[in-house]
Symmetry: C2
Subunit: 341 residues, 2 copies
DNA sequence: CTCCTCGATGAAAACCTTTGAGTCGCCGGT
DNA sequence: ACCGGCGACTCAAAGGTTTTCATCGAGGAG
């Protein structure tokens, strides 16, 4: 049977070759139970022989499903995308979505223009759902997305009411407690904190963990904390400020590895030995940072790959209309000991 | 006219409201010239009033175009994705593609499994074309993709025959010449080179530029060159090796900013002052690296955003079946002077 | 006044799949 | 022998858009 020169085979072709109707062939492909074993085998053989691949557009048209989901990063400050964390999240997203055979539409939202575009796109029915990364305070994108009749899973807690929202968060607070307790267990008496920006909830949660582990109130915490803005440079400066503020410090919990790298540099310049004079614990356990600082960084691991995987799973459940038991998931964090503490 | 509760408006609805036929409405949307001004205006008004957005699936079905292109990163070593360069390319791709309203399907290819998946996907007609980043030697993905009847634009020169391929490359060799000439013009006599891995053409081109600027042959070059593998750690080690090999060196051209950051650390530890004792020039002009080393790094700028933008433009031309004059584009590089040289 | 041309428009086919309704044959029960 | 029921299957409609072809009307040439 000579098939046409180059055209891709259609379901009709498969059905013809298998000696069944289009409908039956379709049922085989969609794993419907109402198919006889013979038909099933014949169709599968035909699919294989012809190298058939369903036409996504046709399928999308009738099912009213696009087979695509948006992955949205909302980030007023484009620079932070040079953060290696970002690359990791994207990689994890690409992988997890490819595994379930759905297309990933990446959207980076910086400006109000981008927001409008994202709004149009998400409202336009071009995707079945969305994964949203919007860590910042009062991010308008979140209010926009919230109003859309679109299944959405957030990474971490977006600012504002969480009513009815689905999200997968890391246990930032628990991780911070872990880190601080560890420093205490080393016998450190004067523990300080380089915090992340006050407009990100993950930073706030980490700060809260630090406070609760030490039994500090807001005022007490303010005396031993500096904002490092989640950047290397910020970590450097915050550490310097802390050295000035608390000369007797003997340990520091830094809210991100990137900042910790900066902090280590400052400590080194100040002639402090790590961990002898000052013990340092970071957060993220970022492979290419934590393992390559000197000394290698003790850090709280939050598994971004795992987080994204859970987000995807959760979203798929929503798309399948399964009733999800827990709307919010919290992923555990663990302390990874290296040499800095 | 009460419209249905929630269903998205269709072209039929638009046509009805504008008092024309579906066909005419379609012509307006596709900017066909054969439309009267009145019809045009009426349809546009209806589109606006209804918030109409074309159904991508339906359109894809009939035009046999998906409105999506794949962006493929082939990279045996997943770690390199922590390279900030990668994040930049992705960002640029997302932006450039969104600008022309096509969806970006991101594919990260690490393993042979991934290759097979990519093959299936690209052959499956799920995208109209592809942007391929495959810098490494003998990357099998390239041979796979080459056989596909799919418009593809490569980033840089993939290894192997370039016959009939479309690509947008940076002028690596020219940039290297620029860097080396600059060091010469500073009166430096003993200039060495920290190279990228020998299985990436961009690294080889930079090495070649270095060689030709100094008039070195292979043997001569080998004496003053070390491979830094495009990593920070590699740059550190390569610099140390060079210091041992060529104690009298007074300048170094490093083939990437990340390696240059490492090299600077080594120089500092060796007690060399930069630029007084040793002048350093990097490559990439990566914002978050070059500006934050101490001293700030003189570097060759290659504009990744520009490169990706050109790739997208080129691909769009291919998709429109325009005959493209030049299959290969070369983007200029410029030297950005800071304090390290 | 008629014929022709040409531009604008409408009707309908085509794209490929899913799915609800209907058909067919067969078995067991009466 | 008939009927009901059931499992496996086929038919055909539906989904929203583009595009070809035909139609219609107006305006110019003869």
């Amino acid at each position: 049977m000579l098939v046409s020169i180059h055209a891709r085979p259609t379901l009709e072709d498969v059905a013809a070759r298998a000696g069944v109707s289009r409908a039956t062939a379709s049922r085989v492909l969609n794993a419907s139970p109402r198919v006889s074993p013979e038909a099933l085998e014949a169709v599968n053989a035909a699919v294989l022989a012809l190298g058939y691949q369903p036409n996504r557009a046709a399928r999308a048209l009738v099912t009213r499903r696009t087979g695509a989901v948006a992955v949205v990063f909302s980030e007023p400050e484009p620079k932070i995308f040079d953060d290696p964390h970002f690359a990791r999240l994207i990689r994890a997203g690409a992988r997890a979505l490819a595994d379930v055979d759905v297309q990933m539409v990446l959207m980076l939202v910086h400006s109000p223009d981008d927001q409008a575009r994202a709004h149009r796109f998400l409202a336009g029915g071009h995707v079945d759902g969305a994964l949203v990364f919007a860590p910042h305070r009062n991010d308008e994108l979140v209010s926009i997305v919230k109003k859309l009749p679109l299944p959405v899973v957030y990474a971490g807690k977006p600012w504002g009411s969480l009513r009815g929202m689905h999200l997968v968060d890391n246990d930032n607070e628990g991780g911070a407690v872990l880190a601080t307790e560890h420093l205490k267990s080393l016998g450190r008496k004067k523990i300080v904190h380089v915090a992340g920006p006050a407009d990100e909830l993950s930073a706030i949660d980490r700060l809260n963990g630090f406070k609760s582990a030490l039994g500090l109130d807001d005022k007490g915490a303010a005396k031993v904390t500096e904002d490092g803005g989640f950047t290397r440079e910020g970590g450097r400066k915050a550490m310097a400020a802390l050295l000035a503020k608390v000369p007797s410090l003997d340990a520091v919990f830094v809210a991100s590895d990137l900042m910790a790298a900066g902090a280590l540099e400052t400590l080194q310049e100040a002639g402090k030995r790590v961990p002898e004079d000052v013990a340092v614990v970071g957060f993220d356990d970022h492979a290419t940072i934590a393992e390559h600082t000197s000394p290698p960084l003790t850090s709280v691991r939050q598994d971004s790959d795992e987080q994204v995987k859970h987000m995807v799973e959760h979203l798929m459940k929503l798309l399948r209309d399964e009733t999800v038991k827990t709307k919010k998931q919290m992923l555990p964090t663990v302390l990874v000991r290296r040499e800095s503490a």
